[in-house]
Symmetry: D2
Subunit: 358 residues, 4 copies
């Protein structure tokens, strides 16, 4: 069950990076929802490589084929299965890695868990490639949420220490959420984006990689979604967001900065506004006690630098049980943060739709 | 199902802060495990108030009564139910809050979700009081893990900007993990602990509260626990850790700091050591691809400042639908971080035992 | 998770027959539902022994204590925990059984699974005694369903070959459903009931026991509950009904008799009646494709004769690994079917309420 | 989640009868298991129509394409996805049914649940066609079980009142289990099989259909699989078996016949045999208290007569809300029992493998 998440909507990802196909099965979508497949394909393109100058040169058309769950362009109460048949894989790039695990990659732990049985070509089922099926499922959920007046968006909050502006947690609008994703490089402040891209290219030039943070926002959420304790908005979002490869941290609202705030600073006072109860500030990120407050939802995820770098690194030979030197060849993004932005939106949308169907 | 977590071991928390009893049901514990009830009670005491000079003056003996699941001191393959009967509740302290939701508390969202139906006296099912049952379940899991050579421990990493030393992610030992919890104030560096307590008392003197960060570690874990994508170590720990009230962030290893590191800095090179494969560094916090690497597990959680402060705050009257002023009376910790340390250990232990039973 | 069932409402049973207490935790009940505790206790009495002349002489007051989940007599959005503290247990009756497994009882399989670790005194967690907590949970669900115009009832369809009338699958009413349960011996036709009781007493006189069938019905169900394939009405009811000790078969509508019918006989033709679509017959038992049709729900469960009989039986000594002779002493019902009637209603009500909350 | 089952192995069926493809996703298979795809295809053929003279004339090659989860013919720790692309669908046969629900079919309940949104062409997701993906998943599980010395088999126990011999619940062997499935018509006693086929053809000649019973057996199971109450062998098998279309009853061992037995007849005495504890009889069907006893597992499922018959039947027009006459055209099996035999084996194998992985 490891590759599934969701309660009301079950999203199951399948495939290996260099297998015949990758895809996703989505069970539990509301019936009768019209899905715009062109818009879905356009959303997939945001994740595809070769879009920004900082990405890998690999070409992955990621053509989505929906083989079940749709009739006449609408969901039909049966599970929806979307498939992408793999092309342009170059497994020989990875042959050496089957014996020499890449530092900071799952090569080693997969070998410990399954011995040689796991298909680790190109990272196998652990590959970032598997985020494409997530975007199929999440892209569909995004459309269904839009029809309900809910918008989810994300942007690159920082890369290599270069920071973008943050979403306004109080005045956030659907337009603000969609704007970064409409650009080739998903930031609010394009000057910051330029600096980030320079930092990425600098790292690449030094055969190195960089990490960053993605900020996710959602507006239009009704108050009252979620639940206390272990099945609340934060629990379910965190469980899913940590399913995105390379994510090492998840926070909501002020997140880790709450450690430096006093209650009088972190509390969000309530007030009446046009008959609605709102808060002046939104340090809570729209969630109190695991339940949505009706204010914008704000989350952030930390993404580590790409483990696969061309520099020589120390590792071991699994077959010979001795130390070894590894220089990863093949085509890898020096920074996966930009391509992870739509993935973060997709996962967040899937969880929110799941919460709405509780 | 909101108050439950775990796959192989299901932990279900019940009770309201001012109800007749609070407790926990634990289904799926291995059979035949001897449980030391005195050690369990001692563990409960670490969470109990009135222990450190910075805590609330409330007295909660938290006497645990195990009514099922044990025979002759051993688990007996039937679900274990542990109950704490409530005493010393002063609901009148909370009467005003039923109409005036406390900023940053679940009072408002519970009202939005259930109207007046939820029992919110003393925070009801959302209360930090419910972490006592979590400690019953987790305290039992800690004992079972110890018998398997696995130790879980935590300490206060920071409060109000005052930082403790961190666990050594490479050389961490069981002794290092147990040391902070053996003190009245769970820190590694007592000087830092003194400064933290002063900061807490300063905030309290100003009718305010402070937040902080707890660092959790575990040693003795075999490599290969967990799974890729949505059911890995990080997913399951995060889902459970966000169940601790006031947690707003969860990170593993370097966590959010990965955003400022390059791959060459963040990658943990492998090497042979006494026939074992280890890493020189442990930025990954002992988890790669959602699976344990055999290195120490490191996680951190951010805890917001106590929402209930004695200062006057703006809020609304739910009954009159107008702005109102609130000054929270009653007995509240100016900082809940110290008492949350054993809770963090409890939750982490429960998830690790659950992973071991996969 | 073995002692839990339900998706939206999670019902978790705990306790051992001779432990300190038995009980149930119910998570997910709708909030604000008034629960009549006197009516609940009266429902419990229907399961209690010593009610009919055919039952064991054991006295089990089964006084229910609700320690959480209720405020001012209403559900309060927190998990509800109901406890029965055990009294009047005579473990010495069972000492011999710990070494000599009773034929047709779980003594042997529990020993194979857990060795001596399981608490098997009085049948432990496998005991029919554990159906009392099920009645707490189900009795509450029955009340909530009644408030929604849904009635669940059951009767003894046969015992020892003596048959009662069956529920009319088309004209079934709430009154017809409640009538059998209002009697000391839950049958439609009292003459049949008298004959059944004679058959039970005959068996008892010969130190033997008898089995039977319980028929369950429900009316007021809307059409459209359930789902296709593995999570439909039949799937969920069957999974739960097999949780009642001694149940060896579950069928719906015509059940096994469909094997002797032709399509032209078994199909239920549709027709309009007062603007509603109904069927002339109801061989389907109110379920088509796992989804309710709006016609009365009909199910039947087969209950085996009580395994514990006073006759000498062949068994083995687990400690000596040799054949042995066993004569079960202690107090056992020569037929558990009558006391299982409210249990069947309880389980069915819990599943139906769970379905309604999908 | 309605189209999924299993805990350790999650089996998710997708597709609609007349959609582009049908298939199954299997998550959690043990890694490194060699799968014989020719044997799998041969197993699929047992379900395919046009095999026996009593089946529909439709041709469904059911060519299975495994697009993930296998590498070099072995499972690789990633979810396995098997797809069958649909061919030879004649939707026009079903056009009338979209307005006139077939008696005893899900047409009506699907319409009540989803209005016109569900794709009901050819029965859509409710179609018996969806048992083909089940056979992919189960056929793989059967192979994995065989490697562990566990054999599952089934036969037609009766059709239209004509009975086959039953499996010997004590002396059952792997050979006995495999024998019926090796024949074009899966019975033990071929004379009975001939009589059954005559009864089917008689019904077909009268534009009618017949139902029957399938008996399933399994040998080689270790004692101790399963659990008490709601997650035992019977609970999990029943939940899954009711997922096979047209199943209206599930029983184990003596099943409903226990109602006519006394304890002294139904109890299975234990005795030592070659150091093992066995029972002289096996009325329990190899399950006590939800846990396997080590004796052969015996289950039976009742399958109703095919609802789609060519006779004129009364129904309603959903669009006009008035009574109507329906004569189902198209190609339908006058009895689906023969083709359901491998499906029953598949589902049983999936559940048993799931239990073994607990």
């Amino acid at each position: 069950m490891s590759s599934e998440f969701g309660r009301n909507i079950r999203i199951s990802v399948f495939g290996q990076s260099h297998g015949e196909a990758i895809g996703v099965l989505v069970d539990g979508l509301p019936a009768g929802e019209r899905i715009d497949l062109d818009a879905l394909q356009a959303f997939m393109e945001r994740r595809a490589p070769g879009r920004a100058k900082t990405a890998t040169s690999r070409k992955e058309p990621d053509e989505v084929r929906i083989v079940s769950g749709l009739v006449d362009g609408k969901t039909c109460a049966a599970p929806l299965c979307g498939i992408i048949f793999n092309t342009n894989t170059r497994s020989q790039d990875y042959a050496e890695l089957l014996d020499k695990p890449r530092p900071a990659h799952a090569d080693f732990t997969a070998w410990k868990k399954w011995g040689g049985a796991a298909d680790m070509r190109g990272g196998g089922h652990f590959s970032g490639r598997l985020t494409a099926p997530l975007c199929i499922a999440g892209g569909i959920c995004l459309q269904i949420l839009e029809n309900r007046g809910i918008t989810v968006g994300a942007h690159i909050e920082r890369i290599a220490g270069v920071c973008d502006s943050r979403f306004d947690p109080v005045g956030l609008t659907a337009e603000m959420l969609k704007n970064p994703g409409s650009k080739p490089f998903a930031v609010i402040d394009d000057a910051a984006g330029e600096a980030m891209q320079r930092a990425i290219l600098d790292a690449a030039a030094q055969k190195d990689s960089v990490g960053g943070i993605i900020e996710i926002g959602a507006v239009g959420l009704p108050a009252g979604l979620g639940a206390p304790m272990f099945d609340g908005v934060e629990n379910r979002l965190a469980q899913a967001l940590f399913g995105i490869p390379a994510v090492k941290g998840v926070e909501f609202g002020e997140g880790f900065d709450v450690a430096g705030l006093r209650g009088s600073e972190n509390n969000d006072p309530f007030r009446m506004e046009n008959g609605q109860i709102v808060t002046d500030t939104n340090h809570a990120g729209g969630i109190l006690g695991g339940i949505t407050s009706g204010m914008p939802l704000i989350a952030r995820i930390a993404i580590k630098p790409t483990p696969s770098i061309a520099q020589e690194q120390n590792t071991v030979s699994l077959s010979r049980g001795e130390n070894a030197i590894l220089a990863v060849h093949g085509r890898h993004d020096p920074c996966i943060v930009p391509r992870a932005v739509p993935v973060a939106e997709a996962v967040c949308a899937a969880v929110i739709l799941d919460l709405i169907l509780d």
